[in-house]
């Protein structure tokens, strides 16, 4: 459905230096520097996929979304979505897509939500019957019924985001871009958004591209993740591939009855070959080890024979950490 090939986008930014004199000088002679937001990015997405598009701040996620939605033109490279080149033939193309830019609402601030919806009905020239059906569907799925007639400025952030999601789906797009839809939301609202995204992907077969910083979003939703950094694709695959592709380590967490015993234990750490101390707080000690080099049973046996502790557990590193490692190791950050 989406074919992106070698897309490059560079921004030109006027350089500003410190001091009053330099700002006067810049009136006459400006220096520019170039920021490469995307550097030969390629990927392809099939119909019905739910993609988590992640990367550190400034990685080029939003630039990609803007190029794919036809707002920005890349410097080079090709891109086709559903047979369209997004930035050419913009008006015909955008009928098939829906976009939610997180932190930016498309609703009219001082008007009831239903007014914004009716306006979108007219803008997309949605047939009355089709409009009624999709309005009922999104109202039901997102439980909007209680505040459809409330002015948008009176809504909470979570309610507003739900309305924004609904607004982006009224014209039944086949492709939906969600740019950080859960940013700033509380736990309940996040669950509602995730649940909704999963439903429209599964039942309405909408292809979804989701950019986010929230790893819980990724774990809950995305079947496939694309990690972008420094304008390049650093990883493309499923979460389980991610787990196996990053050198796997485990955490061993030990709880001691007192801090003194924990300190005594960390003092003897040099005897535990291969395990590194991560942190020690109160009576809790956290160590990292590589199960390939140091089998867990050996490590645990060694500890149980020499120390008395009150609790023990072994943890997998969270996805967040795997991704942070990819940012660091593959992107040199």
């Amino acid at each position: 459905m989406i074919e992106v090939h070698d897309i490059t986008k560079t921004y030109t930014v006027a350089k500003k230096t410190e001091g009053a004199f330099s700002s006067i000088a810049s009136l006459f002679r400006r220096t520019y520097h170039h920021v490469t937001a995307l550097d030969r990015v390629s990927f392809s997405i099939k119909e019905g996929e739910l993609i988590g598009y992640i990367g550190p701040n400034g990685a080029g996620k939003s630039t990609t979304v803007k190029i794919l939605s036809g707002i920005l033109v890349p410097d080079s490279g090709t891109c086709t979505v559903d047979g369209f080149v997004p930035w050419k033939d913009r008006k015909a193309y955008v009928r098939h897509i829906g976009v939610v830019f997180g932190q930016k609402t498309q609703l009219w601030w001082d008007l009831p939500v239903s007014d914004s919806f009716a306006l979108l009905r007219d803008i997309y020239a949605i047939e009355p019957g089709a409009y009624k059906r999709s309005l009922e569907a999104v109202t039901e799925l997102l439980s909007l019924g209680a505040f459809l007639d409330t002015p948008v400025r009176h809504l909470s952030l979570g309610q507003r985001m739900r309305c924004d999601l609904a607004a982006s789906l009224l014209h039944s797009p086949r492709l939906l871009f969600l740019d950080e839809p859960t940013i700033g939301l509380d736990a309940v609202a996040k669950f509602a958004v995730r649940d909704f995204v999963r439903q429209i992907n599964e039942t309405m077969k909408v292809t979804v591209i989701l950019t986010t910083h929230d790893m819980d979003d990724i774990e809950a939703l995305a079947g496939r993740i694309l990690i972008l950094g420094d304008g390049r694709v650093a990883f493309d695959g499923s979460i389980s591939t991610l787990r196996t592709s990053v050198p796997a380590h485990r955490y061993l967490v030990l709880d001691f009855p007192s801090k003194a015993e924990a300190d005594h234990f960390t003092g003897t750490m040099k005897n535990l070959h291969g395990a590194d101390l991560v942190d020690s707080e109160g009576g809790r000690v956290r160590m990292a080890f590589d199960p390939q080099l140091l089998p867990p049973q050996v490590l645990v046996k060694d500890i149980t024979e020499n120390h008395a502790f009150s609790d023990i557990s072994i943890e997998h590193p969270p996805v967040e950490e795997l991704i942070a490692r990819i940012y660091r190791e593959r992107l040199g950050q």
Binding site: K66, A92, V99, F101, Q106, D122, I123
Partner: protein, 271 residues
């Protein structure tokens, strides 16, 4: 077209809520109108019978100017500025419509709402308030006749479109400047002077009349108001409308080209 009307209506509805601002603005305009009328009246006291516009006509001219002040393109659409500033403008570029007409409809709705809120109470004051204050001779005069009033209505409608088309130039300039304040400072001086808002245009010196007639701004205020009081006979309506619509076409084409250029320069920041 349905889309265009729908945006105009929503923008109209959205702007109607600024009733407080409209009432405050109305009081300013009442006083401003009174001062201008009194200054002009002093001028007419020493008049020798050769004035190019009569006393009653110019008093009416000034009252109408205050009533329709909000149609004057001397400000930018704040809702568009806010969207450009925080990036919500990106949504306008993912709609299957012309961005120019989306903004045009927004501005037209806002301007007509502002005029509706102010003109009705202001005209009521200019008719009855002035009589209650014991100055019936400074009250607004009724339209010269039904035909002149119809001509006034038609050219006032065109004035609203022309005013919106000129406002669009300021709106689009904000794609580069983000803040419209600088542009407005330049434009508003020209617009208020050459539309007739400062001094009725017929009172300008003889040698400026050709230039004033050619400029677009007389189509905003001067021409419709003079049709109202029959200073321009209704049979010349065609010329007035032609003048207005030629300039409307110029500003539409110019504004559209300007926005096309702007859209290329526009980079919606942040995510």
């Amino acid at each position: 077209m349905i889309c265009f009307i729908s945006v105009v209506l929503r923008s109209f509805k959205n702007s109607l809520q600024y009733r407080g601002a409209a009432i405050a603005g109305m009081f300013t305009q009442v006083f401003w109108g009174l001062i201008m009328i009194m200054v002009l009246d002093a001028f007419f006291m020493n008049e020798t019978g050769t004035a190019p516009i009569s006393r009653v006509q110019s008093i009416t001219y000034i009252w109408l100017g205050q009533a329709f002040l909000s149609l004057l393109p001397w400000s930018y659409d704040r809702s568009i500025q806010a969207m450009l500033y925080d990036g919500r403008i990106a949504y306008d570029f993912i709609r299957p419509c012309s961005v120019y007409w989306l903004w045009f409809a927004r501005t037209l709705g806002w301007r007509t709402a502002a005029v509706t809120l102010r003109s009705v109470p202001l005209v009521l004051f200019a008719v009855f308030g002035m009589r209650l204050l014991g100055m019936p001779e400074l009250a607004i005069a009724p339209p010269a006749n039904a035909v002149q009033f119809l001509a006034f209505t038609l050219s006032m409608f065109s004035a609203a479109v022309l005013g919106t088309a000129i406002t669009m130039m300021i709106n689009v300039s904000m794609v580069w400047t983000v803040s419209g304040v600088g542009t407005v400072a330049l434009v508003s001086a020209v617009v208020t002077l050459f539309s007739g808002m400062v001094i009725p245009l017929p009172l300008f010196p003889e040698w400026t009349q050709t230039l004033i007639t050619l400029l677009p701004f007389r189509g905003l205020v001067d021409a419709p108001f003079r049709l109202y009081s029959a200073h321009i006979p209704a049979k010349y309506l065609t010329y007035t409308l032609l003048h207005q619509w030629i300039w409307i076409a110029v500003f539409l084409l110019w504004g559209k080209a300007f926005l096309r250029k702007g859209a290329k320069a526009l980079v919606v920041q942040g995510g």
